[in-house]
């Protein structure tokens, strides 16, 4: 009995001692490198790229404000779409400052609420910075989309509407809000990269967990539900007016494709500027934990399969929903398969618990 006891004690003590016992086959995966590389090579450049695109849009907007003409409107629209595309690479990072100021809800809540926008325009004490879920769909890209494409029927009529100072001032306010919000989010990232990746205070796992959860949340809610599932009526009737960029019509597909690309790039840890894969990405982390590498391959296949299902859709999702919704639902199912891999297999392997409100729906 003594012997058994000794063996047992040995077992336990070996297990909890921290001395220099010879390391066996595997080295530990460097999680701080994962965080720092993602921040420096992907997250911050994606934000910079978005800010750059948006500053072009701002310049175009200033020019347009001082000279309301059809060519200036067209230029403005084109830089708007460029910014909206760049936004797709930013939306998933709902961390730190972005989370604090509800950056992504303020920037991309759709469908936009025209009645409330009109009420806001008559409200002198309006403060769009206050977190208020009623005001999220009155600002950001979807609201700007309404002003630039949907406030009236023809381009001339739209120009006419925007020559109204109330409309133009409100539009100006929306542009400024995105600009200042973006600036504070970028400053946060640049000032806190080291803290973000630091393991000294034991926050490394919480940062990594948050990042993984944000990624899964974006994929499930931002991409699958908002862009595809809700318009396709998976939880209710079909809602063709709830597509992203509803008023500019033809961009909903490209925005969805860009969101999917952003998801895949994040998973692979691709350098935002060069496209080079990193040694430290969720993919390589998963491969470290799952030596058969079957999961990361399944996830990548699922991204690719989703991409091919998105590509056959019509440029305008509201048109797609109205005319051939079953293709839309097939795309949904393809993305859904990825949600299962990410939400069950990946989070289980990473030993991360799902910490958000489930994403389906509104």
């Amino acid at each position: 009995m003594k012997k058994i006891l000794k063996t047992l004690i040995l077992f336990i003590f070996i297990s909890c001692s921290d001395n220099n016992i010879e390391q066996d086959n595997v080295d530990s995966f460097d999680r701080s490198s994962l965080l720092i590389e993602l921040a420096n090579n992907l997250i911050i450049p994606a934000h910079d790229n978005f800010a750059l695109n948006f500053s072009v849009f701002e310049i175009d907007f200033e020019r347009f404000s001082s000279d309301l003409s059809i060519p200036n409107l067209q230029k403005l629209r084109s830089s708007f779409i460029d910014s909206y595309m760049a936004w797709q690479h930013v939306e998933m990072f709902n961390i730190g400052k972005a989370e604090e100021i509800f950056y992504n809800l303020k920037t991309n809540s759709y469908p936009t609420n025209i009645l409330r926008i009109e009420a806001n325009m008559n409200n002198n004490g309006l403060d769009l910075d206050i977190p208020n879920e009623n005001n999220y769909p009155t600002q950001g890209f979807p609201a700007i989309d309404y002003f630039l494409f949907g406030i009236s029927e023809t381009d001339e009529m739209i120009l006419n509407e925007l020559s109204d100072a109330t409309n133009l001032n409100y539009l100006n306010l929306l542009v400024q809000k995105i600009s200042t919000n973006t600036e504070s989010v970028i400053n946060f990232w640049k000032n806190n990269t080291q803290d973000f990746a630091n393991s000294a205070d034991g926050s490394q796992s919480s940062n990594l967990n948050m990042l993984a959860n944000d990624f899964v949340y974006y994929y499930e809610k931002g991409l699958r539900a908002n862009k595809i599932g809700i318009p396709a009526g998976r939880w209710s009737n079909k809602l063709p007016n709830n597509v992203e960029s509803f008023y500019s019509k033809i961009h909903s597909k490209n925005l969805a494709i860009e969101g999917l690309k952003a998801s895949k790039n994040f998973f692979l840890g691709l350098n935002f500027n060069t496209g080079a894969p990193s040694d430290y990405s969720f993919r390589t982390y998963i491969d470290y934990l799952d030596t058969e590498n079957s999961l990361s391959n399944l996830i990548i296949e699922s991204f690719d399969n989703s991409m091919s299902k998105l590509q056959i859709l019509s440029d305008d999702f509201s048109h797609q929903v109205a005319n051939n919704n079953s293709q839309m639902l097939e795309a949904y199912d393809a993305i859904q398969e990825g949600v299962v891999y990410l939400k069950t297999d990946m989070l289980s392997l990473l030993s991360i618990s799902v910490d958000y409100m489930d994403a389906d729906g509104d």
Partner: protein
């Protein structure tokens, strides 16, 4: 030793007295903690729907009165500590605590269950026969039948033994799962997290060590010669689990305090005398009292109840053998069996309402009916899935739907295996009984986890 003689063997009752005090305090603090964390609200009051235990669907939270239930539980636990109206208090404590546990099975934890079981036993044990308000008013009894203390030891042995036997399975021993997943994820723990816990051999050492610990510790605690070292081991083991798995809650404390009952009366007398120093009123010198003078008798009824209870407790964890299918997959017979930390599961489960009358269908948003926590637990447990489907059926029938079916998309990952469909697709799980559901709707696991 004949049974009769055994039942008439009397021993010093201090272990039982100390057990009563510690256990009462433990419950008191554990319920305070539960309240303080806001869980009464988030777990019992906020949800619109509650998952019930079989036979106990009538046990539901009672709105804001749920707080009253906790207050009753808290007060009666303090009454247990001071030994005031012990019989009634212990009954009320058992009933209130158990009612709370039965209100929603989403929160099921093995150690909550253990607390309920021990509270049940305490009703029948003379744990306030001394050093209590009750005995202050009447007489202090110093000796109790030996079986009363032994019964608590047996209960703890049953827990450890079954927990150990459950670890003898191929996932635990041959793949070090799910410990491997969890330990790899613990890289943030200072010193060992990013070094030792990343090592393959550590995962295996801890799996095997844990299994051997659980199986052997009852014997090591029972044998006087090894008791001290065994208790040291108990402390090390449970503190270690607390460090590695902070979410384990009160469990380590319950087991560490519980295992004190294995020590002989001299140890417990010291504890009583230590407390007595601060409570002069109780101070008496035990060692001058003669053995037969102050012994308390217990009824044959109590002997029978506790004996039968322990017999059931020994058998209950084995009931999964009556069911078909992989235990870790179907979870039939999984609860109430001391299967602690054996599976890492995550699931994705959504429900589709098929309206046959209208030949239309739509998916249901789980979050309209469940909290995050409920949804997470529901997603991988078949009995939750069936119960939720039944609730949804009633919900939509009340809204005027008739002739409906409920289909499920459910994917579950178990101990690092790739996720697989759990429930057959395009299959109605609403208009069938629970037995048929298990028999016909769960897709077989398709892998084998060997067990004894």
């Amino acid at each position: 030793m004949s049974l009769n003689k055994y039942l008439n063997t009397y021993v010093n009752n201090s272990p039982l007295i100390v057990f009563r005090i510690l256990f009462g305090l433990l419950i008191f603090f554990s319920q305070i903690r539960f309240w303080h964390k806001g869980w009464i609200e988030s777990i019992y009051i906020d949800p619109v729907f509650h998952f019930s235990y079989y036979w106990f669907s009538w046990v539901k939270p009672i709105g804001d009165y749920t707080y009253l239930l906790f207050i009753i539980c808290l007060i009666s636990s303090l009454f247990i500590v001071i030994g005031f109206k012990y019989r009634v208090s212990s009954l009320i404590l058992f009933l209130s605590y158990t009612y709370i546990e039965l209100m929603d099975k989403t929160t099921y934890l093995n150690h909550y269950y253990l607390v309920s079981l021990i509270l049940f036993m305490l009703i029948f044990l003379p744990a306030s026969s001394r050093f209590s308000i009750d005995s202050l008013k009447t007489t202090d009894f110093y000796f109790v039948p030996r079986w009363t203390i032994d019964s608590l030891k047996i209960m703890l042995c049953i827990v450890y033994f079954h927990a150990g036997i459950a670890k003898v399975n191929s996932d635990w021993l041959l793949s070090a799962q799910p410990l491997k997943i969890w330990l790899l994820g613990n890289y943030d723990i200072p010193l060992i997290g990013d070094t030792l816990l990343q090592q393959n051999w550590v995962h295996y050492a801890m799996s095997w060590g844990g299994m051997l610990y659980d199986i052997l510790i009852p014997f090591l605690l029972l044998i006087p010669k090894t008791r001290n070292s065994a208790f040291l081991l108990v402390i090390i083991f449970h503190v270690l689990t607390k460090i590695l798995f902070p979410a384990i809650g009160m469990f380590p404390f319950i087991m560490i305090f519980g295992c004190l009952v294995f020590f002989d009366y001299k140890f417990h007398e010291k504890i009583i005398q230590f407390i007595s120093k601060y409570l002069k009123k109780f101070q008496k010198n035990i060692f001058t009292i003669k053995k037969n003078e102050f012994k308390i008798k217990t009824s044959l009824f109590s002997v029978f109840i506790i004996g039968f209870f322990l017999f059931i407790q020994f058998l209950l964890p084995l009931r999964h053998n009556l069911y078909d299918g992989e235990l870790f997959w179907t979870e039939r017979g999984y609860r109430f069996s001391w299967r602690v930390m054996l599976v890492e599961k995550k699931g994705f489960t959504e429900f589709k309402l098929v309206d046959n009358g209208n030949s239309s269908s739509f998916y249901i948003k789980n979050e309209d009916h469940l909290t995050d926590f409920q949804e997470k637990q529901m997603s991988f447990q078949p009995d939750f899935i069936k119960e939720f489907a039944d609730y949804l059926g009633d919900f939509y029938k009340a809204k005027g739907y008739s002739n409906i079916e409920i289909h499920v998309n459910s994917y579950v990952t178990l101990n690092g295996r790739r996720s697989k469909r759990l429930i057959k697709r395009d299959t109605d799980i609403l208009n069938i009984d629970k037995k048929t559901f298990y028999k016909n709707c769960i897709i077989p696991f398709g892998d084998e986890i060997k067990k004894i």
